[in-house]
């Protein structure tokens, strides 16, 4: 299972005076089991891109292969695509509608035509995966939960469909630091148990650096860069030109270097930064002793 996007172009309101090119000749590929972070300035085409991946939007030109199926083809069944690719939108809690948490999470699996038994099993599993207690919440209304809980239930609704590719569009937007960390840990643990491809859109570079195997940088509807977090975040100047930031640790090391300290700049996390600094200091002291 892999994703192969080939030269897709998308134009909003084509032929109107306010038409805008949202994606232009976008190509990239994702290997099985990879975790890809997608970053880019607001309006760079990230959300448009991920909506193409499960067929909600059709490209004007180009092809998208999920495994060996081209999902832009005419004969493709949307139901099959959505079974394989789960998309969690921004603020997913606004899509909750059922009377009980159980029914809401079951909405996806039932639409897939699964049996009652299988649905029930998946709902329990999904609510467990997002770190909530099934017994406690199942029969409550989703509208009386806290913001963080609502969001996790909404994410559970997608996970219960057991997608081979899970796409999350800014899953931590508007959450407090604690809920933020919980959602992030949840994403990490889902990725490691389900072994699926995960795509994460985020503006938080720290999260991207900590979770991703690869980072995709979007700029004005085009792919500006794609590589490992280390490769991408070592190009601080280019990222800043696009209005993007570095992870705090990399930013710190960058500034140290500017001040004349011989710092290692390809660090991603604060642990790595600390290690690099200690190493450097030890080196310095040895030189002084000699």
């Amino acid at each position: 299972m892999s994703i192969e996007v080939k030269n897709i172009t998308h134009i909003y309101s084509e032929g109107m005076p306010y038409e805008s090119v949202a994606l232009q000749e976008v190509s990239f590929s994702v290997a099985d089991g990879e975790f890809v972070g997608i970053i880019g300035h607001t309006g760079s085409g990230k959300s448009t891109l991920v909506q193409h991946l499960n067929g909600l939007l059709k490209p004007k030109s180009g092809a998208i292969f999920i495994g060996d199926v081209d999902i832009t083809g005419e004969k493709v069944l949307m139901r099959d695509i959505r079974r394989r690719i789960g998309l969690v939108f921004q603020y997913p809690e606004y899509q909750l509608f059922e009377e009980t948490v159980h029914k809401d999470v079951a909405f996806g699996p039932i639409n897939l035509g699964l049996s009652e038994e299988e649905t029930d099993h998946r709902v329990r599993e999904a609510i467990g995966l997002v770190g909530l207690d099934y017994q406690e919440l199942a029969e409550r209304s989703p509208f009386e939960l806290s913001g963080g809980q609502k969001r996790r239930i909404a994410i559970a609704g997608v996970i219960a469909m057991k997608p081979e590719v899970l796409i999350l569009d800014e899953p931590t937007a508007g959450l407090d630091p604690r809920a933020h960390k919980e959602i992030l840990d949840m994403i990490r643990s889902i990725h490691s148990t389900e072994k699926n491809i995960t795509l994460l859109i985020s503006h938080n570079m720290n999260d991207i650096a900590a979770l991703s195997d690869k980072v995709l940088v979007m700029e004005r509807g085009q792919v500006a860069m794609m590589g490992t977090p280390r490769e991408v975040f070592s190009k601080g100047a280019e990222l800043k030109k696009m209005g993007l930031a570095l992870p705090p640790a990399a930013e710190f090391m960058d500034r140290m270097k500017e001040k004349g300290f011989p710092a290692e700049t390809s660090v991603l996390t604060k642990e790595e930064a600390l290690e690099a600094l200690l190493f450097q200091l030890k080196d310095n002291r040895e030189q002084v002793v000699q």
């Binding site: 309101s13 899509q95 509608f97 909405f107 996806g108 639409n111 509208f143 997608v158």
Partner: protein, 266 residues
């Protein structure tokens, strides 16, 4: 998909028609609509079509864009056409059992069809060339004299402004929720009527919740800025009639005279 509805939409432009005072355009549209009902044969419609074509030409709104706005009301037009065709008594042309097409019926069907299309195009030109906010400002101003007999003109206009302002927001919200539910395998397009109606539940409930949330936020934001109705409020862009408007008024009078003359002379 849902963004393709053009009825009641604004088409940005800088034309002469766009720049007219909203009050002129509202009165002009009203006059045009009344004139359409004065017309009693196809020659009169020819005058109306010529007038409309002139306005469309000046406004530079593409004809294809205007015709797209007819799509949602196509069924109504068709319905009117068919009812008129079969329900008018007169000289029989074709007949299958109780379904009879008469000469008069065919004439009436075309007559009503053309009138309806012209009505819709005429009124959609108003919204196509006038920003919603300007439109409601114009309406408030025109309703102004009625304030004296207790008509809450400002409040009505404000309600309309808010309603118009939130149409795109709600459409966007609908689009978003629809996509989110489609991503969870919801199907809005197939099945019989009952199944389709049922499939709207996952769309409507979140939509209502969103609408209430937005309304509450807006009310709070307005209160926080001490909004309390129309008394003594001034506008950032005061409306003023210019030479353009007098010219337009002249054209309107000329148009009405033509229509009335056609009605009485031919």
């Amino acid at each position: 998909m849902i963004r393709d509805i053009t009825l009641g939409q604004y088409y940005p432009g800088e034309s002469w028609i766009h720049k007219l005072d909203p009050r002129t355009k509202i009165i002009g549209t009203f006059v045009f609509l009344v004139a359409l009902f004065l017309v009693k044969d196809f020659w009169g419609f020819l005058v109306a079509v010529a007038g409309l074509a002139l306005v469309i030409g000046i406004s530079r709104v593409p004809l294809s864009f205007i015709l797209k706005g007819l799509k949602p009301v196509f069924l109504i037009i068709l319905f009117t056409f068919v009812i008129n065709m079969f329900m008018t008594k007169g000289e029989t042309l074709v007949g299958w059992g109780f379904l009879v097409i008469t000469r008069e019926g065919l004439y009436n069907a075309f007559f009503m069809g053309v009138r309806l299309v012209l009505l819709i195009i005429g009124s959609s030109l108003l919204t196509l060339t006038t920003k919603p906010i300007k439109l409601t400002d114009g309406i408030e101003n025109l309703l102004g004299p009625l304030k004296k007999i207790g008509v809450p003109a400002h409040e009505l206009a404000m309600m309309m402004t808010i309603a118009l302002r939130f149409i795109p927001t709600l459409l966007e919200e609908t689009d978003k929720i629809m996509k989110a539910q489609m991503a969870r395998g919801a199907d809005f397009e197939s099945g019989n009527l009952l199944k389709r109606a049922k499939s709207l539940v996952p769309l409507l409930i979140p939509l209502f919740i969103s609408a209430f949330r937005i309304a509450q936020d807006l009310a709070m934001a307005m209160e926080a800025r001490c909004y309390n109705g129309g008394e003594n409020r001034t506008r950032m862009n005061a409306m003023r009639y210019s030479r353009r408007d007098f010219l337009a008024a002249g054209a309107m009078i000329f148009f009405v005279v033509l229509i009335v003359m056609e009605r009485n002379l031919i």
